[in-house]
């Protein structure tokens, strides 16, 4: 027997892996998907739907698997893995792209200077305790707050409480950090609202000045002026008094208005405007959708 004949015999023993289709399939191997745009056999799909669909699926699966098995592979203890290409079909995301987070002042500075974050271990060696302790928090390492003796520096006032001094310093540091965090937040919210953070801060300060000036009994008239201090004009609404003698009909009308309001409130038919607006808006959107659906159906 010839070698080619032997090969042919071997081939004949098994069913073929080749499939012939008029229009070649499109593949999106990243999604393990094949698209078959060949026209269907109308007679078969009507009369022998299940068999026809199974035949279609078999041929399609064969073509798809031929493509997948031809991909480069990696093998591990769990089996043989095919390396898939990127998906090509455009499918929508579930959520919009994340908005870039605004940098804090430190992050900006670090970027400008090229300072990179370093991973620090959680536990640090504490020489006094001769043990590893957490870097921060309860029972932290190298905590100078619980030294049992502190040397008083030569330059310091001997009566000063060094413990209190350390406590105060720490409090100040914490306060400073909180202040900076607050400032970062304020700046971020200003930028997100599309405003210049500096302008926002300026407006805040100006408002605070006006408020502080109007907070004294004399509305700031006897306050000590600083050198070159800007004169802040304080706008106050003037009190208005009704004329003592007015048209009787006008007076009656205003009285009636008040009476109507009170009576209506008792009638419990007063409309909660904000709630009503929400309801109407909701109905409108639902109606719109229903309308759309109907239109399509009548086509």
């Amino acid at each position: 027997m010839d070698v080619t004949e032997q090969l042919q015999a071997l081939k004949d023993k098994y069913k073929s892996v080749e499939v012939e289709v008029p229009v070649p399939f499109e593949f999106d191997l990243g999604n393990l998907t094949a698209f078959d745009s060949n026209g269907l056999d109308e007679r078969r799909i009507k009369n022998e739907t299940n068999n026809y669909l199974k035949d279609l699926a078999r041929d399609g699966t064969q073509l798809l698997l031929n493509q997948i098995f031809a991909l480069p592979t990696k093998s591990s203890t769990d089996g043989v893995f095919a390396e898939l290409p990127e998906p090509t079909t455009v499918l929508p995301r579930a959520k919009p792209l994340p908005k870039p987070k605004l940098q804090t002042r430190w992050e900006k500075f670090a970027k400008a200077k090229g300072i990179q974050k370093r991973k620090k271990g959680r536990m640090v060696y504490d020489e006094q305790a001769d043990d590893y302790k957490p870097r921060w928090g309860y029972n932290r390492a190298n905590d100078n707050q619980d030294d049992w003796i502190i040397e008083v520096p030569d330059t310091a006032d001997p009566m000063e409480d060094q413990y209190e001094k350390r406590r105060d310093e720490k409090k100040e540091r914490v306060e400073k950090n909180k202040k900076q965090a607050r400032r970062n937040l304020e700046e971020r919210s200003a930028v997100e609202a599309g405003k210049n953070p500096k302008e926002v801060r300026k407006a805040q300060l100006e408002k605070a000045i006006v408020e502080s000036k109007t907070s004294t009994a004399s509305l700031g008239r006897f306050d000590k002026k600083l050198q070159n201090e800007d004169v802040v004009k304080i706008k106050r609404s003037k009190r208005k008094f009704e004329a003592t003698t007015i048209d009787a009909s006008k007076e009656a009308e205003s009285a009636m208005n008040i009476a109507k309001k009170v009576l209506k409130a008792g009638d419990s038919k007063v409309i909660n405007v904000s709630k009503a607006v929400k309801q109407v808006a909701g109905q409108a959107s639902a109606e719109m959708l229903g309308h759309k659906g109907k239109k399509r159906k009548s086509k």
Binding site: G30, T33, F69, G79, L91, L289
Partner: protein, 315 residues
């Protein structure tokens, strides 16, 4: 929108962070919801669709009053609460018997949905034989030219693909894990006569005498015949927003790199202008400058004279 409170625990914070928009999204979660009334046919279809989607789906055990085409807000609420982007709703009424709605959300708002009526089907339980294991990615097949020519059917295809494609961010797939195939065939027709046939098979790989295996299929179910009813397509703006590719993911084209026909790589490099003044020539002892202070004096004089000149000019 659900009201979002500031998380009080670290765990709560992690959960909230996971719900925030991600740069690279993984598998979309799906909800399978029963409406107020359902038939045996449609609820078993819903259950089977859920079984195919496991473990990335949630099948609601209670009935809910949802009518997606009349008011999508309850759906949007469920989508937001469960962080799911695909919703499958089963219902049954005189007007629309054995009804299944597949809806997809973007940013927790319903973007597009299709309503499929079930005309006939055989559930997964009625097929004997081995079923595919949970969590394996199915192969997907879409047959029929109608998918290309009809916009509504294209949406159907897109929705089914989104539902069952699994984790598309995975770049490896276990060849022995390709256990089942979902075949979806569209038959075009006039409005109200567009049919979609869904069949699911397990794959058996046989020897073929070549490197590639011979594929044989065995039906594992469900087998469902749908007819397309109402639909709502995505509006262009939303679709555009939803298909935006993040800058960080987009591949940057490498400049000045070319490949010739053989596959050799050629690069063009810009060298910048060479400064010949700083050229390092051969060092010789004899050419070294004798004293440095000499040089300093020279420089000082030069600067001084310059200053003097400028002062004179000003006068």
């Amino acid at each position: 929108m659900l009201r979002t409170a500031k998380p009080r625990t670290a765990k709560g914070k992690r959960i909230q962070l996971a719900k925030e928009p991600q740069l690279i999204e993984t598998t979309k979660q799906a909800l399978f919801i029963r409406g107020t009334t359902t038939s045996q046919l449609v609820s078993s279809a819903l259950k089977n669709l859920y079984q195919l989607k496991r473990p990335d789906g949630i099948l609601f055990s209670k009935r809910n009053e949802v009518r997606p085409f009349e008011d999508p807000r309850p759906l949007e609420f469920f989508a937001d609460k469960n962080d799911a982007a695909i919703l499958v709703v089963a219902s049954h009424s005189k007007k629309r018997p054995h009804n299944l709605v597949i809806a997809r959300t973007f940013d927790n708002q319903v973007m597009d949905m299709v309503e499929l009526g079930i005309e006939g089907g055989v559930s997964m339980e009625e097929f004997k034989g081995q079923k595919a294991a949970i969590g394996h990615r199915p192969l997907l097949l879409f047959h029929g030219d109608a998918f290309e020519s009809h916009e509504d059917l294209r949406t159907v295809r897109s929705l089914f693909m989104d539902l069952y494609r699994g984790d598309a961010t995975a770049d490896l797939v276990n060849l022995s894990g390709l256990e089942h195939v979902i075949s979806i065939t569209a038959v075009g027709g006039t409005e109200g006569n567009k049919r979609i046939h869904m069949r699911v098979f397990t794959v058996h790989l046989k020897k073929s005498g070549t490197k590639l295996p011979r594929v044989e299929l065995e039906e594992m179910g469900p087998s469902i015949d749908f007819v397309l009813r109402r639909y709502r397509l995505a509006d262009k703006e939303t679709w555009k927003m939803a298909t935006k590719v993040p800058k960080q993911v987009k591949e940057k084209k490498e400049k000045n790199i070319e490949f010739d026909d053989i596959g050799d790589k050629f690069g063009r490099v810009h060298m910048g202008k060479q400064d010949l003044g700083k050229l390092q020539t051969r060092k010789m002892k004899g050419l070294k400058r004798a004293a440095t202070d000499d040089e300093g004096d020279d420089a000082g004089e030069a600067v001084g004279s310059g200053k003097r000149q400028r002062a004179e000019d000003e006068e």
